[in-house]
Symmetry: C2
DNA sequence: GAAATTAATCGTAATTTTGCGATGAATTTC
DNA sequence: GAAATTCATCGCAAAATTACGATTAATTTC
């Protein structure tokens, strides 16, 4: 249920670079996930419950979106007792930014 | 069959900004579409047939991906006789770049 | 005008996505 | 240890995505 099993996709026929970009873009391809990322950009770290409170979707749906972002590598979740503390995966986030930036720089 | 009719999405519950970002990201969320964009970034303009030749997917599937990119505003298609000449929608492309760049700058 | 070319669209199949409520597992708290 | 809290996962429904071949529409070319 992640990017690497979308539709009947043929990812293997595209470059690694194209797959990376698509993978990151795909993770940001839903407003709820953009909203979650923005929360984490602002708050540094955030327990899951707080995210659920901020996003106008059910707990289970928010959990799914968190999973998509986690599978894409953009966020990390750390268990803290009963809670789970989510935060950006800074390295991957920067890497994603670099990939996208480079795409825009490709213009000749 | 575009971003604004995805799943049983609730786009109206998110900010306009979040929707814009998700819309652009969504368009780039498939390696074939990234590949098409890269072609257009390199070649300035490209007739549809040449794109089909470069992308390892059937003509109809490539046509669908072109439609997704066009619906997101990222590319334009101009009829030239029997052919259709595709090119980046420069303004929208820059706008998309700006939106994404700003997202990365939101880190506090 | 018939034949060929080009690209969009149709029809279909398989799979994923999005969403929700319900359930389950893990940890606290009483 | 029972009850409560928290969050992931299950099960389901509706719809979108991805892919393809076949067809259609619009132009050229002969």
């Amino acid at each position: 249920m992640n990017f690497y099993s979308m539709g009947q996709s043929k990812k293997e026929d595209f470059t690694v670079r194209e797959n990376h970009i698509a993978r990151y873009a795909n993770a940001l391809g839903h407003p709820a996930r953009v909203a979650i990322i923005r929360l984490l950009l602002k708050k540094k770290s955030c327990i899951c419950g707080a995210i659920v409170d901020e996003i106008p979707l059910s707990q289970s749906t928010v959990s799914q979106h968190l999973k998509v972002l986690k599978d894409a590598g953009l966020i990390k979740g750390e268990i803290e007792g009963v809670r789970v503390c989510y935060c950006l995966n800074e390295e991957e986030w920067e890497k994603a930014g670099k990939y996208l930036q480079e795409l825009w720089k490709e213009k000749s």
